[in-house]
Symmetry: C2
Subunit: 222 residues, 2 copies
DNA sequence: CACTATAGTGAATGCTATACACATTTTAGC
DNA sequence: GCTAAAATGTGTATAGCATTCACTATAGTG
């Protein structure tokens, strides 16, 4: 129950992650090097293994952090407008998704880019973190739906397990999935630089797509 | 002007790329290893440098091939229906985009996933290859527009340079960009496994999104 | 047929992750 | 306050990686 040493330990683990994020920003997610981290920390590389079992374990920790960070950005965006301004809240969440991504391209690449060579994410740890983002959206949509402000066309069946476990309606699940794919398409192309020269004003373009999406979902302007 | 030796050389280069693609399918794009390729070819790794200046040079070649392969898949999809069945041709191109991606996930990751650590693509070589896919779409949309079958809302300015260089109209450029972001969002999430459990029937879901897109663009059923 | 350009080899360099044995420091129990 | 245990950190060793270079064997060309 001692916390003197445990606290120190946590601090070191955070230091490692912090430097790792820094390096990712420079050299990219897959270029993460324990040696480089140790060098910057002024410590022997073998010592890092006291804090993370392997490079993969560190990557997993970074992935989970990244999912949480993005979800937090979305939550903040969704919480800013008044409670009953559903469209503004949705817009806030979607804007948070993109803002976080363009501000943290390497961490975005880590969670949504190509999988790292030998690495396989331990689903039991990363899945819950990944689900948090969707939860933010579901929350807003649920409330809008309860107020009768949502009229999305859901002409396709959705996974029963998803509906059961999240408790959302068919239309909420459908709109969530459609919304995510659209939003994500723009964001991932923008972050990886594939929209350069194709679009004039990336922010305006994104906003327009979000507006279209909400119109389609029957979410009226507040 | 001899071609005896040159042909042999080209054949070997293709062999290398072939094995590289094979390995990418197993270990992922960033996990590509010259050593592993040489081992499988039963040759000394240093010998590979006679054919590609570096690992990056090989990667560049694979990227260009991948862009062309996907564009070819789209072209084939667009060419299958009758010339004046514009909606079917668009659908064919979009279906080709996704089909190629799910059939070649590693190569898809190579061109649209997170950038490889130290690697920077030589834009002068990869850009033209990357643009080919969009050209396929532009071609169909141009013809549909000329026939008065396209009514896309283009409420945003598009890059003048793009319009000038491709010769497409504002609405075609706009619909192309919107379409790509949507399509790509679904495909990239599907290929990287992020839609598992979120969507019941991935193909039906994709088709529905494509249909929505074309309806929005004013492309009538043929 | 003889010459030469090329293909291919093996060794060397300097990265990387990881494992292990050892030394040092810090904490906990008495 | 002292001692035993636990945790931290180091140095070394192994194995895999990309890349360079000097060298040899060979195949294509004139």
């Amino acid at each position: 129950m001692t916390t003197r040493r445990a606290a120190q330990r946590d601090r070191t683990r955070d230091d490692i992650k912090h430097i790792a994020r820094q390096q990712m920003a420079e050299v990219g997610a897959a270029g993460l090097s324990l040696n480089a981290i140790a060098r910057q920390m002024g410590v022997a590389v073998s010592g890092l293994y006291r804090y993370y079992d392997s490079r993969d374990a560190l990557v997993t920790a970074l992935i989970i952090d990244a999912f949480h960070a993005q979800a937090a950005a979305m939550q903040a965006g969704a919480d800013a407008p008044p409670r009953n301004a559903y469209q503004a809240r949705m817009m806030g969440a979607m804007w948070g998704y993109r803002s976080w991504a363009v501000a943290h391209p390497a961490e975005f690449a880590l969670i949504y880019g190509s999988p790292i060579p030998g690495y396989v994410a331990p689903a039991d740890q990363t899945r819950p973190a990944a689900a948090r983002a969707m939860t933010v959206v579901y929350e807003v949509l649920n409330e809008a739906e309860a107020m009768g402000k949502l009229h999305a066309p859901a002409d396709l069946p959705m996974p029963p397990k998803l509906l059961r476990e999240t408790g959302v309606s068919l239309q909420v699940a459908y709109l969530g999935a459609v919304g995510w794919t659209r939003i994500h398409g723009h964001v991932t192309l923008e972050v990886f630089g594939h929209l350069d020269g194709l679009v004039t004003d990336l922010e305006a373009f994104y906003r327009a797509e979000c507006a279209t999406l909400m119109r389609e979902g029957g979410l009226q302007p507040d």
